[in-house]
Amino acid sequence: MSATVNKPEEQDQSYWAIVKRQFKKNRMAVWSLRFIYGVVFVGIMADFIANDLPIACGYKGKTYFPIFNSYGVSLGISKWPTELANVDWHDLQYDWVLLPVIPYSPQFMDTKNSGFKAPMGTGQTVSSFRFTHFLGTDKLGRDVMSGMVHGTRVATMVGVISMSIAVVIGILLGAMAGYFGDSKLKMSRIRLWLNLIFLFLAIVYAFMVRSYALSDALSVSVGGFMVQLLISGVIFVVIMIIPNLIVPVLKKVPFLGKQVSIPMDILISRLIEVKVSVPTLLLILSICAIMSKPSIFITMVVIGFLGWTGIAKYVRAELLKVRSLEFIEAAQALGLSEWRIIIRHAIPNSLTSVLITIAFGVAGAILTESSLSFLGIGVAPEQVTWGSLLSSARSEASAWWLAVFPGMAIFVTVTVFNLLGEGLTDAMDPRLKQ
């Protein structure tokens, strides 16, 4: 380490470096971030932390890796060896075995410990301490701690999937509304007209004509649906390219070439207002309720598609400020294209405030998902989430562990994301702190 680093005047004075330093001063926020890393780790590794399959085992002289094998089976690329197909993993006579920390999967019904067994082993009938249900069991003998671990995975996925969708839509629409305003997006008449006509055709040929292919694929598998969706996407893009190839020729005609401006800001602001007017919970509930097959993924996607307004508002406000700054004018003077300016220059300068909305947004998404699964809407019955665990407490008052632990997990995770959001807010605007 060189000696100059410690001198404050030599420190990196870029905006991000300052934000980072400010953030690090906030111990609560730093610990929250570390906790979030932990949650994500547990979420990703859930199968290796709580599972009734062993991580590795020796059985009849051969070595197996059952958890990896189960991934292979569910992807359809491998099969169970005959001696391991349809076995009760807890009753096998292993030569040696490496079990996960919690030797139960959330769906595994421990028939000997069914009917709400209290935490920490008292009253449980287990073969050894290793198999204790540390947080108790539910009515069917399913391990609560394992459910908590796998609930962490659901929460992580809700955070990632819902927020990515919300962020992409929010930034895109917010940036267009803020940067273009009502008068800056200009195009020739012919480009506008042709694009609208071809947009109509693209929707017809990519989605309407193919609607049965899409819905049939969705009823079979999510993967097949994605492939069909991709094909539709390609058709859509190809059709949309056509008018933009013709336009440069037709633009030469004076009447068709006249520039018209598109009121982006009005259109998008109105869209936001419509979205905000409909009560989100009720809308999500109705959408999830009309799904013929409840699935946690659809719920996440719905939450994401309905959660972009906050981000869009933020980005719009930021870009309204940014677009009149000198460096944008400089970029325009250099003749860069509008989209390049938006994506490379304008959006990165407003991302800091977006981070704040993301932190709060993840907290909101997790809360929404857990209230939905608490109400039993939008999740398949066999899916274990924090919300579904908590709701099982309503059937048995004496099972306090079902009321306390899952709720605690939701509370702590939501709080931590809120703390992170607060920390980021403080770090980005140090004046507010004083």
């Binding site: 409909v278 009560p279 009720l282 109705s286």
Partner: protein, 491 residues
């Protein structure tokens, strides 16, 4: 100011139109045949019923479809392919319509498909004529099953298999001669569908216009005359004239069900919001005045935690620990509103209700209370930084006067935004709380309607809360201007 309000009301209309469209399309996408749901999901014309019974069932279905306006086209315009006829909406049975659409998407020749479908019906009617005896019972049953199933088949191999089974069954008894002839016709018409396929028509988009006699228009504006003209039986007044249709589950008008539920939701919401404001505003001001002190730090932290406490967790905890004898703290009744009988006097009724409402109100209050206090504290703090506060202090005004006379009014602005949210939350109900504590308010009503697929109720609640949110936003904007004269809307 007046101009601003007018402008906002003008914007109100397109927004409302979009919300109506979204609500309407969601209600159209909801699974299940609405007529069957409204008729109580009875499968009309079951396998062994008498011909008369089946025809009566058919009639009841059509009458109900007409009552619900489902004999009309869906919307003012429709976008379809050239293969699809614009009269497809006349097939009121949803399953049949969807099967026909499938067939059209496969073969694209409506005249042949229409004939094929008519022939299925002919076989069905021919089967009504067959007298039941010991020889015809078994094959007749099989034939009826196949015919009823055929209305919903669109895959080639399934249709062929079904036709083959029908032919075999019809050959078993001389009583089936009419049916066998009809089946032969059906078979021929199906091969005609396949041989004369015009698939290219499926790739030509066509827009049909239907005028104002359509389901959307009927739902929103009604088909009853607005001012004069003769009313006919079975006409709807439409959503805008407060005719929300009738509930599928008990056939009562939606409005009358909502009228029963609304008072409880309003009571809950107003009590909890009143409490939240009463505690939050002074606490926020007090906390802002003590800024940086230990008390302020502790309160801020507690408020922060309260703000992120999930309400359904707290409710579950309260129910688990305070309403059951398990933990020795059986202090509250666990759900409902208590029993009221005619002999109780007003005071008893009040205490009975109050005891039942304490926990729900507590759950509803703490969250908004924490949120409001934080907003209030933030508002006061940002106002206290302003120059005019420094001026007020500099000229020697006492601290109390500075805070309450100069700072308080301006720091109310953020609080007003939240007040606008009361309207929608009042109608959508404290969804979760009402369900956990089994309070018969709007939240419980719409939740149960969701599960019972009672869609008119669900989408009415959704539409009404959207309208109330819009009004709430408008009211909030106007109140801004009243509280803070610096805000001007004349751009």
């Amino acid at each position: 100011m007046f101009k601003y309000v007018l402008k906002r009301i003008f914007y109100f209309i397109p927004t409302l139109a979009i919300i109506a469209l979204v609500t309407f399309s969601l209600s159209k996408m909801a699974p299940g045949d609405p007529v069957k749901l409204a008729l109580g999901n009875k499968d009309n014309g079951g396998e062994a019923g008498q011909a008369a019974e089946k025809i009566a069932g058919e009639k009841a279905y059509n009458a109900m479809a007409e009552k619900m306006g489902l004999h009309l086209p869906t919307f003012y315009i429709s976008l379809s392919t050239a293969a699809e006829p614009d009269t497809l909406y006349k097939y009121t049975k949803r399953a049949e319509r969807e099967t026909l659409q499938r067939l059209i998407s496969q073969y694209g020749n409506w005249p042949q498909i229409e004939k094929y479908y008519a022939n299925i019906r002919k076989v069905q009617y021919a089967m009504y004529e067959v007298r039941q005896d010991s020889t015809t019972y078994q094959p007749g049953r099989e034939l009826n099953n196949q015919v009823n199933g055929l209305f919903q088949l669109y895959k080639d191999e399934e249709i062929l298999a079904s036709l083959a089974t029908m032919k075999d069954a019809a050959a078993l008894s001389p009583a089936f001669t009419d049916a066998a002839r009809a089946i032969k016709q059906l078979d021929e018409s199906y091969s005609a569908v396949k041989t004369n396929a015009t698939n290219a028509k499926n790739y030509i988009p066509v827009i049909h216009f239907f005028g104002i006699k359509n389901q959307f228009h009927r739902w929103l504006f009604g088909d009853k005359p607005w001012f004069f003209g003769e009313e006919k039986l079975g006409q709807s007044a439409g959503f805008l004239r407060a005719d929300f249709g009738f509930s599928y589950s008990d056939k009562r008008p939606v409005w009358s069900k909502m009228k029963d539920a609304l008072p409880w939701t309003l009571l809950l919401n107003f009590v909890s919001i009143f409490l939240a404001y009463i505690i939050a505003i002074p606490l926020g001001v007090w906390s802002a005045r003590q800024k940086g002190s230990l008390a302020d730090n502790i309160i801020t932290f507690i408020l922060f935690l309260l703000n992120s406490l999930p309400v359904f967790w707290i409710a579950t905890l309260l129910i688990t620990f305070l309403t059951t004898p398990e933990y020795g703290m059986n202090w509250f009744p666990n759900f409902g509103l208590g029993d009221i009988d005619s002999e109780m006097n007003a005071w008893d009724v009040f205490t009975e209700r109050a005891v039942h409402l304490i926990l729900p109100v507590l759950c509803l209050t703490y969250g908004s209370w924490a949120y409001l206090s934080r907003q209030m504290r933030g508002g006061v703090l940002s106002v206290l930084r302003q120059d005019y506060i420094r001026t007020a202090r500099a000229k020697g005004l006492p601290d109390n006067k500075v805070i309450w006379k100069h700072a308080f009014r301006n720091s109310l602005i953020p609080i007003i935004t939240i007040f606008a949210g009361i309207f929608p939350s009042a109608i959508a109900g404290a969804f979760i709380i009402e369900n956990i504590f089994a309070i018969p308010g709007m939240g419980k009503l719409s939740f149960e309607a969701l599960f019972a697929r009672d869609y008119p109720l669900v989408f009415t609640v959704m539409m009404l809360s959207a309208i109330l949110t819009l009004i709430g936003n408008l009211v909030a904007d106007i109140m801004y201007a009243v509280v803070d004269p610096r805000i001007s809307f004349s751009k």
